[in-house]
Amino acid sequence: MACARHVNAIQELVDGTLGSIRRAELELHLEQCEPCRRLADDLARIRDSAASLEPLTPPDRVWLQIAGRLRQEGRIAAPTPLAAARRTFMPLALAASLLLIVGASLYVLYPRGTAPDEAASAGNAPAADAVQGVETEFRLAEQHLQNAINKLQEAAKADDAAIDTQIASTLQKNLEVIDQAIAESRSALRQEPQSVPARDSLFDALKRKVSLLQDTIALMNQMRKGDAAGAAQIVDSANKS
């Protein structure tokens, strides 16, 4: 059992606030006292483990809700450049609680429901700088969304055995619905490059697609985990028979 009279000093050692004399005394003691040494190690590990807990990221809609409320209350003036550019709110985060277990880099690059410009500014630099001109911003955002979609589609194709055929077919049909929306919006934007509805429509649809693909992959992972895929095949036949 660790020596009660040394516990405080051990804690301060872990805090990094122990004066040099007391520190030397304590280290001498630790060499001779195993329970105290164990305590010191454990507390240090706990402190280190705490320090390395991942910062959690709030969903982007929170800022939009805050800004919306403040605007309603008349507490803030004109909308921010970002909000003006994207008239409609973030698309619904489908299945937000499902874990996304796709390659770590992909997850970090594209947190749920985020357009990359928003993701970048959510990190460090304030959104105010790097205003390149709204058009360029959009083109870049669209490119990033499309890249995300391509990567996710590859990941989904690589493992389509995990999902029951009926469910896979539903997901596929709905992806096609979104694809059609994307195609129509793009075509409209080509005819009327300045059209805000067409542009909003395109971005909404692209984000919905990212969302649905992420959900599909998450579903695959969930099913594979419990070998529910096997069970699902069983269920499939149960439904049909």
Binding site: T88, L98, D200, D215, A228, A231, A238
Partner: protein, 349 residues
Amino acid sequence: MSRMVAVVVAVVMVAAGAGQAHAQSAVRDRTVTRDRVVFVDRYQGRDRDQREQQTERSTRTLKLGANGEVYIANIAGHIAVMRGGGNEATLEIVKTSRGRTAEDAREMLELVHVDITERGSRAEIKTRYPQGEEWRRNNRRNINVSVAMTLTAPAGTRVQASSISGDISTRDIKGDVALESVSGSVRISNAGRVAAAKSISGSVEITDTEIEGQLEASSVSGTVLMRNVKARSLEAGAVSGNVVVQDVSCDRVEAQTVSGDVQFSGTLARGGRYELSSHSGTIRAAVAGDTGFEVEATSFSGDVRSDIPLKTESTDGRRRNRTIRGVYGDGSAVLDLTTFSGSIVISRR
């Protein structure tokens, strides 16, 4: 410390005559396991399609306390959770199997288990089918077994339930509720807090519920319905399904779908914000009551129309049919309606 208790299987039934659909014969076996009593009733008979059906029903008491937690993972079969009195919960499990013969059906029943783990005030209930590549290779038959669960629990219980092809419902449960089904429907009624309500191809309905925070519900191809709900904000979404929001009382409503329709009907909250959008579906906002609102309704190629007289700003001639910006009354609420090719109709209910 956890105790694994599998559902106890009782004595096999007597086979009945062949070729007739007839009443069930039953045997009740009572086994006392610690201080829990497990009743297992077995029935057998033929279902309509002239296949042999075997049913095994069991009941189990869970000592959850008034604010316990239940985690249910089912695969094929419904899950229904409703409020009961007291501090204990009662779980009824009905396994149903269908086989070519009674023997076949009985064998299959034995292959599917419901594992129940209790740890303090938390219970985990998981359905387990035979698994793995090896099993599948050696046994090419299909397991036609569904497991229906009915849980009666104290109102403060927190419930997290998922199923693949079953419907999930909770009624009068005020603890946190998180329900996810893949192809089944999700129905929540009179809840206190909803952490998740989702399905992929099933419908999702939340009714008669009052919560303090945000309410979210989504389906991919099913209908999402929120009716008689009070919350700070609502988010309802679908891809090809419709979204219906009726008689809700919230500061914010966000309803979106891609090819489905959005229907909103009810009164508006003063200062509330209502955002309805669809790509190719129709948006119908049927406003009741007399709260003033400001509306911005835009469509790229669909028709936009308001049956409610509005004070409108002058709109760009080219887009006269595609945009309405106007104010009714004191303009306190905000209606933001958007489609790409679908039409938008604002009317009085």
